[in-house]
């Protein structure tokens, strides 16, 4: 695969190294002369000096035959223009753009640039995953099988509190496997009623935690 990386900062440099190690042909474009001079001894001909938002620079490094264009400069406007030109002028379909300031995300969306990677966004998502938000704890993730087991507390006033297990409005790909109450655990039957304060264990496919927390959270106590 031929990958064009625009922007030779920490992200661009490490990305270039990784992609090369995996056997790809890579060109890295760096616009800053001093940064370029630092990169050149490590990367040799792989790094090219130039402004990757200029059409002739992109053409010179063969944008037309790039299988993927990755815009990771420190400037969101530049990343938007690189992505837009790569897609609309040069017909590239695989484009990844970096969003440095999360407030600019709406501009990427407006101009139809996707996927967009924002480290702020990634860290926020990791926090959501790691921190037991809404009392939701990830107990086990089966990556290959694409399943996870979570524990969540039924808050007083939540839709789940006072509801029979078989009447829970659970999304598809989700099942209650245990209820912990008063220091003991039970494998529930359908007619068991969830009480406020119960710890409920569920098995589910990832990415539907949002639906679960809505069910087990009292309206108004989310932290988002």
């Amino acid at each position: 695969m031929y990958v064009l990386v625009v922007g030779g900062g920490k992200v661009g440099l490490n990305l270039t190294r990784e992609l090369m190690q995996k056997g790809n042909e890579v060109t890295l474009i760096e616009a800053d002369r001093r940064r370029y001079a630092m990169l050149e001894p490590q990367l040799e001909h792989v790094v090219q000096f130039g402004d990757g938002t200029e059409l002739w620079v992109l053409e010179q490094v063969g944008v037309e035959r790039a299988d993927m264009v990755i815009a990771v400069t420190g400037d969101d406007e530049d990343n938007i223009i690189i992505s837009q030109v790569a897609r609309e002028k040069y017909g590239r379909e695989s484009i990844i753009a970096r969003c440095n300031n999360i407030r600019n995300m709406e501009h990427f969306e407006l101009l139809g640039i996707r996927p967009v990677v924002s480290s702020t966004d990634l860290i926020l998502r990791l926090i959501e995953h790691e921190v037991p938000q809404y009392g939701l704890v990830h107990l086990l993730t089966l990556q290959v099988e694409n399943l996870e087991i979570i524990e969540v507390e039924a808050s007083p006033g939540s839709p789940a509190a006072g509801t029979r297990v078989d009447e829970l409005d659970l999304p598809e790909d989700c099942l209650v496997i245990a209820v912990l109450r008063d220091g003991g655990g039970m494998v529930p039957r359908g007619d068991m009623v969830i009480e406020p304060g119960d710890e409920v264990l569920l098995v589910l496919s990832p990415n539907i935690e949002g639906d679960i927390t809505r069910l087990f959270d009292a309206p108004g106590d989310s932290f988002a």
Partner: protein, 129 residues
């Protein structure tokens, strides 16, 4: 503003206001102008500067790519009728012009004027370096 339009200026530096005042009897606001401090990619700043009721929008910061992005925001998000963009790079100016933006390229305009001056002045013996 001399043609009795209302003009609102958005600049990231408050100092720009002094430039607007210069040459006026009063200050910029007395003359009917508006001034907002903020960067062009901040949607809030654009709204504060009145983009929602603008008939025309001029993107003339010192960055081509910033101008191209905010011009498209003005056009696509705020539906401003007339959007004009300053783009120094003739290639990008031409391509974005073909995509429906009104681009003004000072570099190209300069080249055209210089070329015309050279042709007019042919044989006059005037040489500029």
């Amino acid at each position: 503003m001399a043609q009795s339009h209302t003009v609102s200026v958005l600049d990231e530096s408050a100092d720009a206001h002094r430039l607007l005042d210069s040459g006026l009897d009063g200050n910029w606001e007395d003359a009917g102008g508006m001034f907002t401090v903020g960067t062009a990619l901040e949607t809030d700043a654009l709204i504060e500067a009145g983009i929602e009721r603008a008939d025309a929008f001029v993107a003339a910061t010192n960055g081509d790519n910033t101008n191209l992005v905010i011009a498209q925001i003005a056009q696509k998000r705020f539906n401003v009728d007339k959007v004009v963009v300053r783009v120094l790079d003739p290639n990008r100016a031409r391509w974005y012009g073909e995509q429906g933006l009104t681009t003004i390229c000072p570099t190209q305009a300069g080249i055209d004027m210089l070329t015309a001056a050279v042709q007019d002045g042919a044989g006059s013996g005037a040489v500029g370096i």
